[in-house]
């Protein structure tokens, strides 16, 4: 009875599903928004940051549920592996923290280490986390046509406890620095978008211009919230972000200026991507383009404006467009947001109104040469290898103070001892055998006692062929620090011939170290509350610690000779045969006197047998055993008939064996 009622209910559900789906309910459940942030960078480059966000509610009971906008493969992934949060990034090139900034949300959230980086937090019991991770890597590997499945083995992922994120041991983190990222990874990533790259902002993604860029990083971030909101069980938020640093074509613009090295190249969307925006993706809730003018640039432009104001006293337009003096925009922004304290400015364009006939092409033309610098992280982190040769070396992480720290010191001069907290996460593969007791800290180029500055330290040493080595550190450095260098020694391991990759002489990669500054907040604060409905801007405003990745290190390891394993095996076995044979030979050599002694003694069984064995060859040689001299014995042992007999026996056995084995 109950069964029947459920069946009818299911049937009716099936019948009404099309009607339901067209209803408002579903529309509310799934949302999609697309945004693009453009930002001129100090070194004549342009940053383009695409941000797509898809949200879906997810209820536990609906197993084979249909999604309208949300990619089904992703929701299945989340459901199957109980993912709480996950981030996968494919990156090529290195984010230049010195020039492109290290203190804004873009650099701390979207700058990623080269290759593939994957981390995931699972909502399963502790002992199942590893199994879930393994399955997840395989699924993602299939989804994104990448060798993420190499992260499956326990020697390629780790579980940072607190230096990266705190997730109570349910976090797994792995990187593949060597992974080559190409369009075959981008295509499946674009497939997850409702409009793919056919319409909307994603239509801008011209493959040649993206892969010609200095840095590109495609990112997929998943958050599955289990909180009961809107009466629904749970929701998944899928963020897809593509960050590209491009250099505008210089030939086209800026040739007319005499000081062309000083002036920034002018650019437009069509000049950097070769395409224009044909209108929004109709499925998107919001579809905006932003242009960010960062703080350093705004300050410079204001100075410039004051200077020009001294020449010409004519009034300069509205307050919002005051900084427009330095450059011209081809399209007037719909809105302008100013940041509260840090002065950066955001121009917002809505592309809802653009169509095929009326394409959106934002262009920026510089009027005056401006030189500015991006805001930096408190300490500029870099990492390098020391030592030569293939036996040992050391890894050094150097932290240098930047302009920000100097300002910071000036501000906090009154406080007696201000401390700068730095979290360091360093992961090394097992074949880099790190001696953790050799950890050295040099503050302002003077060696210091490590325990004075290390607040907390946790080490999980690497185990050969089983696990990675991981070191998490919290450093408390004085604010007036100029430089700090962490130095740790290692021995290079020697691998089995099969463990070397095909290009073994290229070297092995040590994944980037992660340096974060939890006291500093990378988020931007905008005054206008109305922008909080834009997912990207709310993301930019999130309070996130400043985070930076160091360089990937390339360690050359010694290689054995790959071409001749057989020679090694045979030569070594020959040595062993030599040992065994010569020792046996010398041990079974009996002195003539002893033999006689044995004969004279009362014969026990063994002696009897031995006597017979000794007599037999003597008889065969036609000599009496008494006249046998030790020298003759040893010289004639090579033509010993017993030996011939044995050889014949062995040969006979071999022949029989051959015969029967056929």
């Amino acid at each position: 009875m109950a069964l029947a009622s459920t069946a009818t209910f299911a049937l009716s559900l099936l019948l009404f599903l099309p009607i339901l789906s067209s209803a408002i309910l579903e529309k509310e459940e799934e949302e999609f928004s697309e945004e693009l942030l453009l930002k001129p960078l100090p070194d004549r480059k342009v940053l383009a940051h695409f941000h797509f966000q898809t949200e879906a509610s997810m209820s536990e009971d609906s197993f084979a549920r249909h999604h309208h906008l949300f990619p089904k493969s992703i929701s299945q992934l989340v459901k199957k592996f109980h993912i709480k949060a996950m981030e996968l990034s494919f990156t090529q090139g290195r984010w230049n923290y010195e020039r492109w900034g290290g203190f804004d949300p873009i650099s701390s959230q979207n700058a990623k280490p080269p290759g593939v980086e994957l981390w995931a937090v699972f909502d399963v019991p502790q002992h199942q986390v590893d199994a879930s991770w393994k399955n997840l890597t395989h699924s993602l590997s299939g989804l994104f046509c990448a060798s993420i499945n190499f992260l499956e083995s326990s020697s390629s992922y780790s579980a940072p406890k607190w230096a990266f994120q705190s997730a109570l041991g349910r976090l797994r983190y792995g990187t593949l620095p060597r992974e080559a990222v190409c369009t075959e990874n981008l295509t499946p990533w674009l497939k997850l978008l409702p409009c793919r790259d056919k319409a909307g902002l994603s239509a801008l993604m011209d493959r040649p211009s993206i892969y010609r860029s200095f840095y590109h990083s495609q990112r997929l971030h998943l958050t599955a919230s289990r909180t009961v909101a809107d009466g629904l069980d749970s929701g998944i938020i899928l963020e897809q972000a593509l960050t590209v640093v491009l250099e505008p074509n210089i030939q086209r613009a800026g040739m007319s200026y005499p000081s062309e090295t000083k002036i920034q190249p002018s650019w437009s969307l069509s000049s950097i991507f070769g395409r224009k925006i044909n209108g929004r993706c109709v499925l998107a809730k919001s579809s905006n383009v932003y242009l960010q003018v960062e703080r350093g640039l705004v300050t410079k432009l204001e100075e410039l404006q004051e200077n020009t104001a001294a020449y010409a006293s004519n009034d300069i337009g509205t307050d919002d467009l005051r900084w427009n003096l330095g450059f011209d925009l081809t399209v007037t922004p719909d809105r302008v947001h100013r940041e509260l304290e840090k002065n950066s400015v955001l121009y917002e364009y809505s592309i809802n109104g653009y169509k095929d006939t009326e394409q959106f092409d934002l262009g920026l033309t510089w009027k005056h040469p401006v030189v500015w610098s991006s805001s930096h992280a408190p300490l500029y982190a870099s990492r390098f290898l020391m030592g030569s040769g293939n036996e040992r070396g050391s890894i050094a992480i150097s932290l240098k103070s930047t302009d920000l720290t100097k300002g910071f010191v000036a501000a906090s001069d009154l406080e007696e001892r201000c401390k700068l907290q730095v979290n360091v996460l360093q992961i090394v593969p097992w074949y880099i055998k790190v001696y953790y007791h050799t950890l050295q800290l040099l503050v302002d180029e003077k060696p210091q006692v490590v325990t004075d500055f290390v607040e907390r330290m946790s080490v999980s040493p690497s185990e050969d062929k089983v696990s990675l080595g991981m070191m998490e550190l919290i450093l408390m450095l004085p604010c007036d620090i100029k430089s700090a260098v962490l130095n740790i020694e290692f021995d290079k391991g020697f691998l089995h011939i099969d463990e070397y990759p095909p290009d073994a002489n290229q070297g092995f990669d040590i994944p980037s170290a992660i340096i974060s500054f939890p006291d500093f907040d990378a988020g931007l604060q905008f005054s206008n509350n109305s922008i909080s409905n834009s997912p990207m801007l709310s993301k930019l405003q999130e309070n996130r610690p400043v985070l930076s990745y160091t360089e990937v290190l390339l360690v050359p390891l010694t290689t054995p000779d790959f071409s001749m394993p057989y020679n090694v095996i045979t030569i070594t076995c020959t040595i062993f045969a030599l040992y065994f044979g010569s020792l046996l030979n010398v041990l079974r050599r009996r002195v003539g006197e002893e033999e006689r002694l044995l004969k004279n003694k009362d014969a026990n069984k063994v002696a009897f047998l031995r006597r017979i064995l000794n007599k037999l060859p003597a008889r065969l040689r036609g000599r009496s055993s008494e006249s046998t001299q030790p020298e003759q014995q040893s010289s004639s042992s090579f033509i010993n008939p017993i030996l011939i007999l044995k050889v014949l026996l062995v040969a006979g056995i071999a022949v029989v064996w051959q015969y029967y084995s056929k």
């Binding site: 097992w430 953790y436 040493p461 020697f494 290689t559 000779d561 090694v568 041990l587 006197e593 002694l597």
Partner: protein, 473 residues
């Protein structure tokens, strides 16, 4: 008589001068910056004996982790308690590892003293037994230097020992334990012998096979000519009254008792009892030390398991590292069994053949194990080259001795060069270094061969000297 005394005094003085000189040399070398980088040489520090790994193990233990976490330390927990604190103690203005170095220098000197004492016991026993069978005239021409003193000096002045000591290789302590057990057995001190054996086995596993020669040594007494000569001696005693000295008849009667009392069980049982006691004591101590970190099971896995499975493939003077780096994984366990089996296979034949010379048997076992062990270092060679001095007299006409000497010199000069070419300059490849390792292995095989061959020749000599008395009638 007086001149003899003076001679003896002079000799003693001379001996101590040389010992003192070797200590001074070590101290001078220690004061070189960074120990001349010897502590990171592959010839000196294997994964088992490296002081850096020990310091890492101690650091891990201090930061409340298992000393065996990671694949760094594979030694004994007891060494960690002994040497660990010394690795972190620094004295202002002194070299970093000064205290550790002093421990190793002391270990070397004590080992040399024990070799010397054992040599004296051996010589006394040998001469008395020769006297007993009436061949004491063989000893007339051996007035150069007591073999014990000679062996001690050879051990201390051997470049291998010096390098291992200055390079802070823990093999100095392993060697000390082996020598201690041998001395204990020679002096019939069962507790000392048992302690040395248990500790040596605990530290490096291979000395476990020494239980056979130690038992023989305790049971039969030190090396002597084959026992059948004594039987013979007893029977035709009346035939050759001139050959034995009348003045030492009392001595002889005691000797006779000892010689003819074939196997005395008492010291052997005592030895086994003490061995059991010491090993349980060591296990309890280790157990206390590692109880928070996986217990004894983990310790055995990380020490003996590491030795037996040859996981670390970093180069050393042996040939096995390269073999296991190249061999197909499928055959790995097979070859592991074969190579370790090779050590065990020869135990019984050697024991049967050399059972009348237990000390020499122990020596041969030491040579074999230091040749075939998984992570050999020059410290192991140092021990058997030092013990060679004890048999210098009988092995003086050893075959190929000049060839062997030049071989050892050549290999020890070529091996660092090849290592440098391969690892540091990158102009050579692994085969260059492996070739010297193979050369070294061949040399050791030849050494072992000529060692046993010569000792059997000495036996022939003895028998031929003895046989006219016996066999002519």
């Amino acid at each position: 008589m007086k001149t003899e005394m003076a001679m003896g005094k002079k000799k003693v003085q001379w001996f101590w001068t040389w010992i003192f000189g070797s200590v001074i040399l070590r101290l001078i070398l220690i004061y070189f910056p960074k120990n001349l980088n010897l502590s990171s040489r592959p010839e000196v520090s294997t994964p088992l004996t490296s002081i850096r790994r020990l310091a890492e193990g101690y650091w891990l233990k201090q930061s409340s982790m298992s000393p065996y976490a990671g694949s760094m330390y594979h030694g004994s927990p007891l060494l960690l308690t002994l040497l660990g604190p010394l690795t972190v103690t620094r004295i202002e203005g002194q070299p970093d590892h000064l205290l550790c170095s002093l421990v190793f220098v002391m270990a070397d000197v004590v080992a040399a003293m024990l070799i010397c004492a054992a040599g004296k016991k051996l010589q006394a026993a040998y001469s008395s037994s020769l006297q007993f069978i009436g061949l004491h005239h063989l000893l007339e021409n051996s007035d150069v230097l007591p073999s014990g003193d000679f062996a001690a000096l050879v051990y201390l002045w051997n470049p291998f020992t010096i390098v291992a000591c200055v390079g802070l290789s823990t093999s100095a302590i392993e060697n000390l334990m082996v020598v201690l057990s041998l001395y204990g057995a020679c002096a019939r001190l069962a507790p000392v012998a048992a302690f040395g054996w248990v500790m040596a086995t605990h530290l490096s596993l291979y000395p476990a096979i020494l239980i056979i020669p130690l038992t023989l040594l305790l049971g039969y007494g030190p090396d002597a000519p084959p026992r059948k000569l004594f039987w013979r001696r007893k029977n035709p005693e009346v035939d050759n009254p001139t050959s034995s000295d009348r003045s030492c008849l009392e001595d002889e009667s005691i000797n006779e008792k000892r010689m003819l009392n074939i196997f005395s069980w008492r010291p052997v049982v005592l030895f086994l009892f003490w061995a059991l006691l010491w090993s349980s004591y060591v296990l309890v101590l280790c157990g206390i030390y590692v109880q928070q970190h996986g217990g004894l099971r983990e310790m055995f896995k990380r020490t003996y398991g590491f030795i037996l499975t040859i996981q670390d493939l970093s180069p050393n003077i042996g040939a096995l590292w390269y073999f296991f780096a190249e061999v197909f994984d499928f055959f790995r366990s097979f070859f592991l069994i074969v190579f370790h089996g090779n050590i065990l296979l020869m135990i019984v034949p050697l024991a049967l053949r050399l059972n009348h010379r237990p000390f020499f048997l122990a020596f041969v076992y030491i040579v074999i194990s230091s040749m075939l062990k998984s992570y050999p270092s020059v410290g192991d060679s140092a021990l058997y080259l030092g013990l060679l001095g004890l048999f210098a007299y009988e092995l003086k006409d050893m075959q190929f001795s000049f060839f062997l000497f030049s071989g050892y010199v050549g290999v020890s000069l070529l091996s660092p060069v090849m290592h440098n070419l391969w690892i540091w300059r990158g102009t050579g490849n692994a085969n260059f270094y492996f070739a010297t390792a193979i050369g070294y292995a061949c040399l050791q095989v030849l050494y072992l061969f000529s060692l046993i061959f010569t000792s059997l020749l000495v036996l022939i000599l003895l028998l031929s000297l003895f046989s006219p008395l016996v066999f002519l009638n």
